[in-house]
């Protein structure tokens, strides 16, 4: 068994190295590392400018802002000036003050649609400004409690690593196993395997091992060269291993139903897109409907997040279902490959 397994592993590894897709992936990895390491800034600064025009008769607001340290260049003298300034700078916002300090009225001018988040930020800023002018101290009126010890803020560019691991590295197995199976069907080499003593288990596991090896090298290189070495690599390797094997099995389960990449394309890429849905929850944690949590990449993404940027969460509630899912996927994969790929006449 071991001899046969290693023999197939070596063969598939050689074929992988001679496959153009492998080199495309390697170049993609290098580009990703270069971008994360050297090109993408740590945080995305948005240079939002605020122009102000005090349309009230007394002009008190303009005076207050000058005293507060707002530069003269941002205090304009007419609605036309403020519209021209906003037109010149797409990310800027114009604010026109009317009425009195007791009964203020603000008009916001902007070029394109702004998010409700930005609108609420502007509302809150103006409300705080008016409160400060009115002598009200808002500080200490609320308190923030943390469930777990606070961790260092995550750099914006490094926050992309967990999704890259989940959606670049792990899907290698899903895609590559399909490519290999279609290639073997097309050249007929699978027929030669069928009439050899090689078993179905050896066939599946040797392929999964190849994509695991490639995935581990790919994933570890990505993490080491971007985040560094101060993290739990044992756990990272475990999750990369489980995830890679699971996705290879899932890839084979889907691929057995098709004869070539063209037939597979719509279903295969559709499944890959569904698999990427958890990235929405990753970006907006409040969006986690139940169905998204059933997608394997949801758990895997959460695990990568916790391993790379630990907050002290218990990983077992994710690892146990992931392990059980991998075992279940292997059983289904074995039955399908044995019944549909290792026999003819379907």
């Amino acid at each position: 068994m071991t001899k046969g397994w290693f023999n197939l592993f070596r063969k598939d590894l050689v074929i992988a190295f001679r496959n153009a897709l492998f080199w495309v992936l390697l170049v993609t990895l290098a580009i990703m590392i270069i971008f994360i390491k050297f090109i993408i800034p740590d945080s995305q600064e948005t240079n939002e400018l605020g122009y102000f025009y005090d349309k009230s008769e007394a002009g008190v607001m303009a005076e207050i802002l000058r005293h507060s340290g707002l530069e003269e260049a941002y205090i304009l003298n007419s609605t036309d000036e403020i519209e021209a300034a906003v037109a010149d700078s797409p990310q800027s916002v114009g604010i026109i003050f009317e009425g009195s300090l007791e009964e203020p009225s603000f008009t916001i001018i902007h070029q394109s649609e702004i998010s409700s988040y930005q609108r609420k930020m502007i509302d809150a800023s103006l409300e705080a400004l008016m409160a400060r002018i009115g002598g009200v101290n808002r500080q200490g009126s609320y308190e923030v409690a943390f469930l777990r010890p606070q961790t260092a803020p995550i750099s914006g560019k490094l926050a992309a690593i967990p999704p890259l691991l989940a959606f670049e590295v792990l899907i290698l197995g899903f895609m590559f196993i399909a490519v290999f199976m279609f290639q073997e069907k097309e050249e007929g080499s699978i027929r030669a395997y069928r009439i050899s003593p090689g078993s179905t288990a050896t066939y599946i596991l040797s392929k999964a091992l190849v994509f695991l090896a490639i995935g581990l090298v790919y994933g570890l290189a990505l993490v080491m060269l971007t985040i560094g070495i101060k993290l739990n690599y044992g756990m990272l390797i475990l999750i990369l291993t489980l995830g890679s094997i699971l996705y290879s099995f899932l890839g084979a389960i889907v691929a057995v139903f098709f004869n070539n990449i063209s037939e597979w394309f719509v279903v295969g890429t559709g499944l890959l897109m569904v698999n990427m849905a958890p990235v929405i929850s990753h970006m907006y944690p409040s969006f986690s409907p139940k169905w998204i949590t059933y997608i394997p990449s949801y758990s895997i993404l959460s695990l990568f997040n916790e391993i790379l940027f630990p907050t002290g969460k218990n990983l077992m509630p994710w690892i146990i279902p992931l392990t059980l899912g991998t075992v279940a996927a292997y059983i289904v994969c074995y039955l399908l490959v044995d019944g549909k790929l290792m026999k003819e006449g379907h």
Binding site: K3, G4, F6, N7, L8, R10, K11, V14, I15, R18, N19, E184, E187, G188, S189, I190, R191, A192, Y193, R194, I195, S196, P197, G198, S199, K343, E344, G345
Partner: protein, 284 residues
Amino acid sequence: MIHVKNLFHDYSGKGQYAVNDISFDINKGEIFGFLGPSGAGKSTVQNIMTGLLKLQKGEVSYDSKSVKDLDSSFYNNIGVSFEHPNLYTKLTGYENLKYYTGLFSVPTLDPMVLLDRVGLRDSAKKKAGAYSKGMKQRLVFARALINNPNILFLDEPTSGLDPSTANVIKEIIRQKQQEGCTIFLTTHNMFAADELCNRVAFINDGKIVACDSPRNLKLQFGEKSVKVEYKSGEAVKKDILFLEKEEDRATFNRLVNTKDIQTIHSQEATLEQIFIKLTGRELA
């Protein structure tokens, strides 16, 4: 050794049999030819015998052990050469054989020795995808021999080969037979079958229409004739006479008694002619 009895196979499941009540036996060390045109059911029978296709109805057994009960170790003892070359195109010829040796749990032959025997030593390091059709055919044939099998299934082993290379392959087949290997040869090449096979079965529309040694088939179904060349004045004349006919037999006797005979050759019908006679179909 190999026993096939009342074999049926229906791909559609609607009672349209691609193989329809086929029975034959193959003795140890025999070369058994399975002859028929494309679509006759040859490959289906071979695929059932090798376990590629599930046995639906009938019996296939090796030394009394049903093909249904054979495990993967059965494949340590057989070699299969496919009509359509099926190789890892991104691996070299040598790598294809080397990888295949690793699948067996019995001693295997040196891939380079086999490549040499089929005339591919110089192309051993070339990717199989760059091989010509004939080279691929030879590599698939070599792969079938790698585990030194007791039973060989050869599907059109000389197809696409030039006569010289085809002779090399035929010689290897004869040698394997001398070593005690049982060979199931599927072909529509009647000349190759005539040269190599101890017995042949004609298959047409999923049924065996005749099964015997090539010689017996010719004796049973061929029309025997004699070609006589004789001098008539200064010229050499030629007559073909069918001795089963009384009139021709009288002519033959007259020529022998009265003419200066140059040559006499008995003529047998070819297997192809017999196949056409039995089925009304050509082989190709």
